[in-house]
Point group: C2
Chain length 180, copies 2
DNA sequence: GTCTATAACTAGATAGAC
DNA sequence: GTCTATCTAGTTATAGAC
């Protein structure tokens, strides 16, 4: 984990470009220009373009795994509350990475980091539905997961955003309760 | 508007590939292989790769414009209801194109079709908030717009999906009402 | 209307100087 | 640790035969 200044710059610039133009839509030249170095310098610090992606996604994926572990101790409604709060918090702290992980299968190849994250997202989706098997609840959960990831990019990280995201999620997911 | 069999095939295959791998993530060779023809045939029917994108997005963009026109006659809560129903219907009928238009600025260049659609999406967002200027309402609207576009891809077009999407949107957007 | 062949260019990645 | 120069393979697009 040797951290150098340039290496961190590369990750920061790449995260920004990947989030806005996608992995395939961003070239090494784009990243190099953003950092202010050459393509060769990029490939001195990382083995390949995919390695840059893996490195920048890793911390977010690790925290997603931690969140999943915390949620495993809970069930039903408390689990849902904790899942919503935890997920919004995660997305806000890794807003550029969140979309890459979530939409990984669309734009990005199946690197290990993404394959590992998929069951975690599935788990999160289950927590959002509070265990309900209703297709309707499942669809609502997916809408919220994707919508939150999408909206967080490029928004300032103020408390209004956080509370608005949590609020809309809780409002949208309280479906079974209303039927009772 | 000369419609040939091959031309329609190209649009259908391209729509599918663009939706899953993005515009830059899909090559003319990918499309040609899917259609079962050569790259040259693609470029006989269309001037460029971008022209394929423009052609496949045009009908969806036109219907979005129609929806906007219909909504212009309404205000407040009825406008919101109509916007939700109309938007879900539109996304379900153009599920592969919806994401391209909505996330157009991220993955895809700014072709005229996308530049024209942007104010229409803005208008739709305003209808979703029922004119509210509250940042919280605005964020909720954006979450729903993006989430619905994202979820519709690859889901079977049954009535369960339609009603689930409408239901989650209405539930999530009824914020001001609950405060009263 | 579809094809093969190819031109012109850009991609990711390597070699080697400094 | 960073660079220029280069390689190979893939990209969009064109030319011209059929």
């Amino acid at each position: 984990m040797a951290r150098t200044r340039t290496r961190d710059d590369i990750i920061a610039v790449a995260a920004d470009l990947f989030a806005h133009a996608g992995f395939k839509g961003t070239s090494l030249q784009d990243i190099a220009t953003g950092v202010g170095c050459s393509k060769a310098t990029l490939l001195y610090h990382f083995d390949s373009k995919e390695a840059i992606l893996a490195a920048l996604v890793a911390p977010a994926a690790a925290e997603l795994a931690e969140l999943t572990a915390r949620l495993a101790a809970l069930e039903g409604e408390p689990a849902r509350e904790a899942a919503i709060d935890g997920f919004v918090d995660l997305v806000l702290r890794y807003r550029r990475e969140a979309g890459l992980i979530y939409y990984g299968s669309l734009d990005v190849l199946m690197t290990p980091a993404f394959a590992d994250a998929q069951p975690l997202i599935e788990n999160l989706c289950a927590a959002f539905t509070a265990g309900s098997a209703e297709p309707t609840d499942r669809i609502a959960a997916e809408v919220l997961l994707a919508g939150i990831c999408s909206v967080a990019i490029d928004k300032p990280d103020d408390d209004v955003l956080r509370s608005a995201l949590v609020a809309v999620a809780k409002r949208a997911l309280l479906t079974t309760r209303m039927k009772d």
